[in-house]
């Protein structure tokens, strides 16, 4: 389906829904394609291709609200029947006066900059080249160490096209591409078979790092041999940049309009309050060129803006969409995160490690969760014990336990090694006085 055909279909669906009893309608049409190639034992293990299309229809009927989706787009009669039935069934719901499309004045109006989120050469890349690049990743590892028991190398890519139209004046589309090469390696010594992985990803094929991925995965797996738990204690914790973004998740979830209105947040009524240490400087920037979370409008069509979320630990902004904005009596700010950028500090990971007398470098999470209402958390971790500024031993089978507010008050240092392959861009982070459970 071409972009024009998607717009035409979306508009036809909106017309049909309005004629059938809806007062407002939003339609999103997605078209995704992806390829996965995985290599094991010098053979292709999996060769997968996926092409999917789907439509989501948001209905506002007599102050009642429902959302419907289908991948059956070709038969007009069937699609019309699907929509008519959806509208009829919506009428059985309770009224919800807060449901409506956004104010048209807040919509993105077009003419934004090119954020370079789509590689237009996506379809012209030679499939053989993709396969070779995955074989090359495996080759870096094979035969490099006798403790290797399994190596899997993967090439993945994907392209998604989205068109969104609302009945009160929004029309917009976007296209995204991604490429990734990864390796996962298992090694063995005694009974334990620890493994680790490494990958690179990019928006443009020619920016994909194709060398060193297998080697790095092997290195990381080998370093884990002999891992085990150590005595429970309170210690400083460094979280490696690749994982550090995850540590922000409970904090960011607590800023969501839905969490605040449903009392499932530990940051209710905290706007303007200091909730973290001075080192917590977090900006939401939708306009980073080729950023993984970059965009000009959100899932409602609201024009995105760059904004400060935390400044020197002070909470500056919630994530409020149209619906929860109305319920809370707050102006919508967009309910989605784009690129979250933590302001980098001065030192790199090695310097941060060297600065610790005793502590743990966390390089992997293993399960765990956080309580949305209270911020209490407990996560499984593995990583390395640091003593007198040096890594001395791999640790595993341990937990960190505490409260998110206390944790971010104890944020002592932010590294300068910003991890750029994710929408949440964090450098390595150092927290003081974290409770580790082990022996």
């Amino acid at each position: 389906m071409t972009k024009e055909e998607k717009y035409a279909l979306a508009n036809r669906v909106i017309d049909h829904a309005l004629e059938s009893g809806a007062q407002q309608v939003k339609v999103i049409i997605n078209h995704n394609q992806s390829n996965n190639i995985s290599i094991r034992e010098e053979k292709i293990e999996n060769l997968e291709q996926s092409i999917e299309r789907g439509m989501r229809i948001y209905l506002f009927v007599d102050n009642k609200y429902s959302v419907h989706s289908t991948n059956r787009l070709d038969n007009r009669r069937e699609l019309n029947k699907f929509i008519s039935e959806a509208i009829e069934s919506t009428k059985y719901l309770a009224e919800d006066e807060y449901r409506s499309l956004p104010e048209p004045g807040l919509y993105y109006k077009g003419n934004g900059p090119d954020l370079k989120t789509c590689d237009n050469g996506f379809k012209s890349i030679d499939p053989q080249q993709k396969i070779y690049s995955a074989f090359a990743v495996e080759k870096e590892v094979l035969g490099q160490d006798e403790r290797i028991i399994s190596v899997t190398a993967s090439y993945d890519d994907g392209m998604s096209d989205t068109v969104m139209v609302t009945s009160n004046g929004f029309e917009g589309d976007r296209s995204n591409t991604y490429y990734s090469l990864s390796a996962s390696v298992s090694v063995k010594e005694g009974d334990a078979r620890p493994g680790d992985y490494w990958y690179d990803s990019s928006v443009f094929y020619n920016q994909l790092e194709k060398k060193g991925i297998g080697k790095k995965a092997l290195e990381r797996a080998l370093k884990k041999l002999g891992q085990g738990k150590i005595e429970s204690a309170n210690m400083p914790m460094i979280i490696e940049n690749r994982l550090a973004g995850q540590s922000l998740a409970p904090l960011v979830q607590a800023l969501n309009g839905s969490a605040i209105q449903q009392k499932n947040s530990f940051l209710i009524d905290m706007l303007g309050e200091k909730v973290g240490s001075d080192k917590l400087d977090l900006v939401d920037d939708p306009f980073i060129i080729s950023g993984r979370g970059s965009g000009l409008f959100d899932n409602e069509g609201l024009a995105l803006k760059k904004r400060t979320v935390f400044e020197k630990g002070v909470l500056k902004s919630y994530y409020i969409d149209t619906y929860y904005g109305k319920k809370l009596g707050m102006d919508p700010t967009s309910g989605i995160t784009t690129n979250l950028v933590l302001k980098p500090g001065d030192r790199n990971l090695e310097e941060m490690i060297a600065s610790l007398d005793k502590g743990i470098l966390v390089t992997g999470f293993n399960g765990g969760n956080a309580n949305g209402s209270t911020g209490d958390f407990s996560y499984g971790i593995d990583g390395f014990l640091i003593k007198k500024g040096k890594i001395v031993k791999p640790v595993s089978e341990m937990n960190i336990t505490g409260n998110m507010l206390k944790l971010f008050k104890n944020l002592a240092e932010v590294g300068n090694d910003v991890y750029k392959d994710a929408a949440w861009r964090s450098p390595s982070l150092l927290f003081n006085n974290v409770s580790f459970s082990g022996l």
Binding site: E78, E85, A192, N369
Partner: protein, 508 residues
């Protein structure tokens, strides 16, 4: 379920995502004898045996060893309540065919969301390219496999309207508010799903399944002074609309309120290793994470599981029997045929303390030269099958809960969980405890909450020193994720004692 064909052609104006695929009544020109049941499914997907043969031949055209077609039509509905009213609903239709070709242990896979022969042949050719020899394959074998009947229902979800469902969700809200003055919010939901599956492979096996699945639950949010806490309760089964009742509403409401209430007084235990008593029911998460994933045969075939060379060896006390079962009546994890068209079995993974069987998909059962166990599952037609759990549980043991409690001087008792995870090779697994109790001198004392427990699979299994006679299945809304695919599962356990696990907590 041998449903009446009428059922899936009718669309009541009120059913939300009713079945509205309009079959063109194709008649097969093939002379194959096809039962009325299979014929219904063929018509449902606008297929004939001739077209099936053509697609499978396309899939085998480059010399594959084996190919299969997995047609699926899934209709999902949900309604939900916030701020006292059932004020949101949704529905989804997903329809397509996954085409897989195997060459040894290599897999080629593609799918088509369109049932026109041309699109399906394109996908078949893409999947075929895992093999590279030109080969001719003519398929005209159709050998029907009649599926089991583990989840027959009375009233299909397709025949029920939003209007019929709303009162149950409203009632659960009202019930929760009536049970405790501290309740400030309730989020409640009811979701249902109906899948039609048609399966055909290059061996000629032709089968089908009708899979209902429904989930009903609520989050209860309470406030006491400044403290706000919430907890969740839900049930999920392969049952029809007749499942919903006032008793069920009461059961879920009471559990959600009780679980939330417990949290106001809860503290955290000391950090470190200690005995852990796993309460009957949801504690089956221990089996799922510590053992179940590591027994999935793909990890063992690739030697990446910590249990890879333990087959036939003693891994636990001799009173321990651990089962993965796809045959439980109306269970969320049960299947009439697995997603590779195989019979679904009750599989003893550990029998009398000895590792007895891995759980297999087609590739691994051929690798190990064993009968398939019916564990080949996929999230949908868009994914390749993998060895996956169904309902994973331990049979009752020789002890009592009282005897187990009496063994513990200081430890924790846990019975309410939200999630878990495992690292297959290292064997390290975790599960997150929403609530439980401290055990001091053989007695349950203070409540505890929000702690992660971590252990190592083989060690934890051999550290199970007692198992009680009070077995319970947890019929909650458990989803199991692996390799980017989610499938519904359940779990169960009698009360057991694990000599030591590392408990997240406070260092004093």
């Amino acid at each position: 379920m041998n449903f009446n064909r009428r059922n899936f052609l009718i669309t009541s104006g009120a059913a939300m995502a009713g079945t509205i695929i309009i079959p063109p009544f194709l008649e097969s020109c093939s002379s194959q004898k096809i039962s009325p049941d299979v014929k219904n499914y063929l018509e449902h997907f606008q297929m004939t045996t001739d077209i099936l043969g053509k697609i499978i031949s396309g899939a085998m055209s480059k010399g594959g060893d084996y190919a299969d077609l997995f047609f699926e039509h899934r209709i999902s509905n949900n309604i939900s309540l916030q701020d006292g009213k059932v004020n949101s609903a949704g529905s989804n239709i997903d329809y397509g065919v996954g085409i897989r070709v195997l060459k040894g242990d290599q897999t080629g896979f593609a799918y088509s969301e369109s049932m026109d022969t041309e699109s399906m042949l394109d996908a078949a050719k893409m999947a075929a390219s895992i093999a590279s020899v030109r080969g001719a394959f003519n398929n005209d074998i159709f050998s029907e496999k009649v599926p089991s009947d583990y989840y027959s229902i009375k009233t299909t979800w397709e025949d029920v309207s939003v209007k019929d469902k709303v009162p149950f969700v409203q009632n659960i809200n009202d019930k929760i508010f009536s049970l405790d003055e501290k309740v400030i919010k309730v989020n409640a939901f009811l979701s249902d799903e109906t899948s039609y599956v048609l399966f055909y492979n290059s061996d000629g096996r032709l089968s089908y399944d009708y899979r209902p699945l429904a989930s009903f639950g609520a989050v209860c949010i309470m406030q006491k002074g400044k403290q706000i806490e919430n907890s969740y309760s839900a049930r999920s089964y392969r049952k029809g609309f007749e499942w919903l009742s006032e008793e069920l509403v009461d059961e879920i409401a009471k559990e959600a309120v009780d679980r939330t209430n417990l949290l106001f007084e809860a503290t955290k235990p000391k950090a470190g290793e200690m005995p852990v008593i796993l309460g009957a029911g949801g504690s089956g998460i221990l089996l799922h994470e510590a053992i179940g994933h590591a027994f999935e045969a793909d990890f063992n075939r690739k030697k990446t599981s910590i249990f890879s060379d333990k087959m036939g060896k003693r891994v636990a006390e001799n009173f321990i029997n651990i089962i993965d079962d796809g045959t439980l009546i109306n269970n969320r994890g049960s299947l009439n045929i697995d997603d590779e068209g195989n019979d679904v079995k009750k599989t003893y993974m550990v029998k009398d303390g000895v590792l007895n069987s891995y759980i297999h998909d087609r590739i691994s059962s051929q690798y190990y030269n064993v009968e398939p166990t019916g564990n080949g599952r996929r999230q949908s037609y868009q994914y390749i099958p993998q060895p996956r759990m169904r309902s994973t549980y331990m049979e009752p043991g020789p002890h009592t809960k009282e005897e187990i409690l009496a063994e513990v001087d200081y430890g924790v008792y846990v019975d309410n969980f939200s999630n878990g995870q495992v690292k297959i090779g290292a064997g390290d697994f975790t599960f997150f405890v929403k609530s439980g109790y401290l055990v001091e001198k053989g007695k349950l004392t203070e409540p505890i909450k929000d702690i992660n427990i971590v252990g190592n699979g083989p060690q934890a299994l051999s550290d199970i020193s007692m198992a009680a006679d009070d077995y319970k299945t947890d019929n909650g809304t458990w989803m199991c994720g692996k390799g980017g695919q989610s499938v519904p599962v359940t779990m169960g356990l009698p009360t057991v004692l694990v000599k030591k696990l590392t408990v997240g907590g406070i260092n004093t």
